[in-house]
Symmetry: C2
DNA sequence: CTGCATCCTTGTCGATACTG
DNA sequence: CAGTATCGACAAGGATGCAG
């Protein structure tokens, strides 16, 4: 009931959370689930991501074996990113979370307002 | 406006991901699922978290309505954190992710080694 | 025991410019 | 088109000390 279910620094949950914790990574994974996409298509699909971040995260996802990069030597080059079977299983595991977000965001926002209002009242 | 399946900055998925992206928050949520816990118990259960971070994240979780804080006016004061029904549903949504982590961490690590080895070979 | 305030180091990330 | 390189601003996060 206590120390038994502690979370050591190297437990799988924490290692994966470090990656899923990257919001960009998850968004990319979800987008690629539908079909392979090109660099600039992803860039435009994800509002606010910089080209540096996109490049970085794509590389990281490829390293983890979650997506695959395929360059075709046209001029100029075109590069397609696609999800791997492993990546697809992760995306599926993220689905419940996305569903939860859509169903409960409003309630979370309400709780925040309540909390803030109460704190403000106490300050006064 | 954006493409049909783009992720705008204010979509629920991104807002929740910003919170779940906090690895500490998720760990705390999972720990509290079992039973209410005190501050220092949590601190010890989560290897490597600083007291500052713990304090910060707990407050944030409370604000979001995901956990509840209850102080009993003993001397010295003792504080218990417990999960709310809303928080419990989020924890449940995170479960598939934790399962995925445990089942697939090894494969991810393998992919990383493969990737690194290949890059090293190309550098040479 | 449970925190908040302060300082300070470190890393993160956007902006910009340039290459194949 | 698809990146890499560099710089600088900014914020996250650890350490410490103090308070309720």
């Amino acid at each position: 009931m206590k120390a038994a279910n502690a979370y050591s620094a190297d437990c799988p949950t924490r290692q994966i959370l470090d990656r899923v914790g990257d919001k960009w990574a998850v968004l990319i994974l979800l987008l690629l689930r539908g079909e392979p996409l090109r660099f600039n298509v992803l860039r435009r699909a994800i509002e606010g991501i910089s080209q540096k971040m996109l490049s970085q995260v794509l590389k990281s996802l490829e390293r983890d074996g979650l997506i695959r990069r395929r360059a075709t030597p046209t001029v100029p080059v075109t590069v397609e990113y696609s999800i791997t079977p492993l990546g697809a299983t992760l995306a599926a595991a993220v689905d419940p979370l996305r569903d939860w977000a859509e169903r409960n965001l409003k309630e979370v926002l309400t709780a925040q307002r309540r909390y803030d209002a109460q704190r403000k009242a106490m300050a006064a």
